[in-house]
């Protein structure tokens, strides 16, 4: 009687492991997109105008580094990338594709 249950449980675990691997791959891709497209402005260290701008905007109320934020919903990330803000331009789909933007949004999401 237990055998069918075990089989179903193993199958479920396989799905879960597979989904976790997919999530990790998406996050890894999201980090690559961040490093390539975002870090020159929003990375750590000196000379990063995006990080400096967010420091000036939030004055410590929120982290200046995007990678340390816990409130960046995927919708918010998509909105900033596709509409820009102040001197930050928006990015075309030949630069950041929808799939890459999804990965970036997942990487920055809480």
């Amino acid at each position: 009687m237990k055998r069918p249950f075990v089989a179903i449980a193993v199958l479920g675990l396989g799905v879960a492991v597979n989904a976790a691997a997919q999530d990790a791959a998406v996050e890894q891709r999201g980090k690559e997109v961040f490093d390539y497209w975002c870090s020159a402005c929003h990375g750590a260290g000196p000379g990063k105008p995006g990080t400096s701008a967010l420091q000036a905007l939030y004055n410590g109320q929120k982290p200046a580094l995007l990678e340390e934020r816990t409130d960046l919903t995927p919708e918010l990330t998509r909105s900033f990338v596709r509409t820009g803000v102040t001197v930050m331009p928006f990015f075309r789909k030949t630069e950041i594709s929808d799939a890459d933007l999804d990965a970036l949004a997942a990487y920055l999401a809480p």
């Binding site: 402005c41 000379g47 990063k48 105008p49 000036a56 102040t86 001197v87 930050m88 075309r92």
Partner: protein
């Protein structure tokens, strides 16, 4: 989506199908949401009906796809506007001059086809950014530098074609001058290679610029005669060392021999880095002018009053930092020789030794340089070492001293003669213009030019783009007025946003606009249907010249 003017829906649909057949449907963008990404992020027409917007975009991956797109565009008379990486911010971004154009987005063509360390040259496609190229030479541990502009996300090809400048050795700072050989798709889809690239089997495409006959590469810069799909560049071999030294002179009138001597040491090839003119009175790049000096300038202080102010500050009046790349012993001797020349030309000149580096730079040195650049120090910056960054955006981005950032800027950038007299005259003219046009005094009034090039000075002023339509309209009018004011003095822009390209070309009017008439003759010959880059740098096809023939 707005159709291109004069194009029927049926023809546009057919062209779109042809574009899709050429590049794949996923790389033809027609939805409003996608096409909006081809607006100029710094457009001075934000929120106005005059904003120049695309009707669609098509993004080829190969030169054959570019050719197929151009053939289809010719068949259906679709206006096409090529961009490389689309990051020409402050000079037009990714938007066309003519609304309704289909943007030909070359970002996907991002192959670094060759980097030849032995010949210090490279061949790249238009989608390659300075960041891409820097990563490549780092990963391959190549001992060559690519001269880069301030923002590292721009295209090597696009920047050179728009006459961009950089910060390393004299030979490489003019990016168009530093190119060698092009591949160009013409408006009819034909494929052309310039220089030695025209000779099948030649191994010298990136070694000798001219081939035989007229050198036509210039026709494809700031123009609309072809789509550049490959471009060769000369690279700077990594030097042994770098040295800076600063000359400080006491009097206002010393500016004239200061520039003359600078010209001599640069044109002699002894100073090979980008010199930096300054004034100890002005402080660093981001530092506001002290209130006493501001008051003096605003009140039209005399030279004697300004010199007295300089003496009270215990500072000199002008400074010039010289920069040298080369063998350590040689550049130390070069700096000594320069001190002799300046001391002989300018009584009272004093000298300060500056920075010294050996290459490659350490991680700690790069971080210290970056930190200094971000703080606006007068020390050397990353591009002087061929390192691309986006640090320059610190100027416009929000900061403690700039709590209300703008929505962008438009560069006003006139070329003036390389003399002290011209700087003095330019400051007089800009001060008058600042009063007439109500421009902020620290934008114009006590300004020193940039020295990308060793034969002429350039002034760079960023006029802000805001969210307010009335302010943007006023700033556009001020920009157009500035174009006319400087032209009255024989000065002209080296580069300008699309909104002002007609006005700027109109100032290059010798002999009843002979230059424009020649360009229009060429346009009609090489692009008889007038489909490519209509209006770019004031070159319009016959049917869009508003009756001018």
């Amino acid at each position: 989506m707005a159709l291109p003017s004069g194009v029927s829906q049926r023809d546009f649909d057919r062209a779109r199908l042809a574009f899709e057949a050429a590049v794949g449907a996923e790389w033809v963008f027609t939805s409003d949401e996608d096409v909006a990404l081809y607006r100029d992020a710094y457009s001075p027409f934000k929120g106005e009906s005059e904003e120049r917007v695309a009707s669609a975009a098509v993004a080829p991956y190969t030169v054959e796809e570019v050719q197929a797109v151009m053939r289809a565009a010719n068949e259906y008379r679709i206006p096409i506007y090529p961009i490389s990486t689309g990051k020409n911010l402050g000079y037009g971004g990714s938007a066309p001059n003519l609304s309704g154009s289909v943007v030909l987005d070359l970002k996907r063509m991002n192959r670094i086809l060759e980097v030849n360390e032995r010949n210090a040259s490279a061949l790249v496609e238009p989608g390659v950014s300075y960041f891409d190229f820097y990563r490549y030479i780092q990963e391959h541990k190549l001992k060559v530098w690519m001269d880069c502009p301030d923002p590292g996300w721009g295209s090597l090809v696009g920047n050179a074609l728009d006459h961009g400048g950089g910060y390393t050795r004299t030979t490489f700072r003019n990016h168009f001058d530093a190119h060698c050989g092009m591949e160009v798709v013409l408006a009819n889809g034909d494929l052309l290679r310039t220089g030695m690239g025209a000779l099948p089997g030649a191994e010298t495409w990136q070694q000798y610029k001219f081939g035989v006959g007229p050198w036509i590469d210039g026709l494809f810069s700031q123009s609309n005669f072809g789509v550049v799909t490959k471009m060769g560049f000369w690279l700077m071999p990594q030097p042994d060392a770098y040295l800076t030294g600063t000359v400080v002179v006491p009097r206002y009138s010393d500016l004239i021999p200061l520039v003359d001597t600078l010209n001599f040491v640069e044109n002699s090839g002894v100073v090979n880095g980008m010199p930096q003119l300054g004034s100890p009175l002005l402080g660093g790049f981001f530092n506001p002018i002290q209130s006493e000096l501001r008051e003096l300038i605003e009140n039209g202080a005399s030279t004697d009053e300004l010199e007295a102010y300089a003496r009270r500050q215990g500072a000199g009046y002008w400074s010039c930092t010289l920069k040298f790349y080369g063998p350590e012993k040689s550049i130390a001797a070069d700096w000594e020789w320069c001190q002799d020349k300046f001391a002989a030309a300018i009584p009272g000149a004093t000298f300060e030794n500056g920075e010294q580096f050996r290459f490659p730079l350490s991680t700690e040195e790069i971080e210290a340089i970056t930190r200094g650049q971000a703080l606006g120090s007068r020390n050397s910056t990353l591009p002087e070492f061929g390192i691309p960054s986006l640090t320059m955006f610190s100027i416009g981005a929000r900061s403690a001293t700039n709590p209300n950032p703008t929505e962008g800027h438009m560069w006003f950038s006139p070329i003036i003669p390389r003399t002290g007299e011209a700087i003095i005259e330019a400051n007089r003219v800009f001060s008058e213009a600042a009063r007439e046009l109500d421009l902020p005094i620290n934008a114009v009034g006590f300004s020193l030019p940039t020295t990308y090039w060793n034969r002429a000075f350039i002034y760079l002023f960023g006029l802000p783009v805001t969210k307010d339509i009335a302010t943007n309209r006023a700033n556009r009018e001020k920009f157009e007025r500035l174009v006319k004011i400087v032209a009255e003095h024989g000065w002209g822009e080296y580069r300008t946003p699309p909104a002002f390209q007609d006005a700027v070309l109109a100032t290059y009017s010798f002999n009843n606009h002979a230059l424009r008439r020649f360009l229009e003759t060429l346009k009609d010959a090489v692009d008889p249907n007038g489909i490519l880059g209509a209006g770019r740098y004031g070159i319009w096809p016959r049917h869009l010249r508003g009756g001018r023939v």
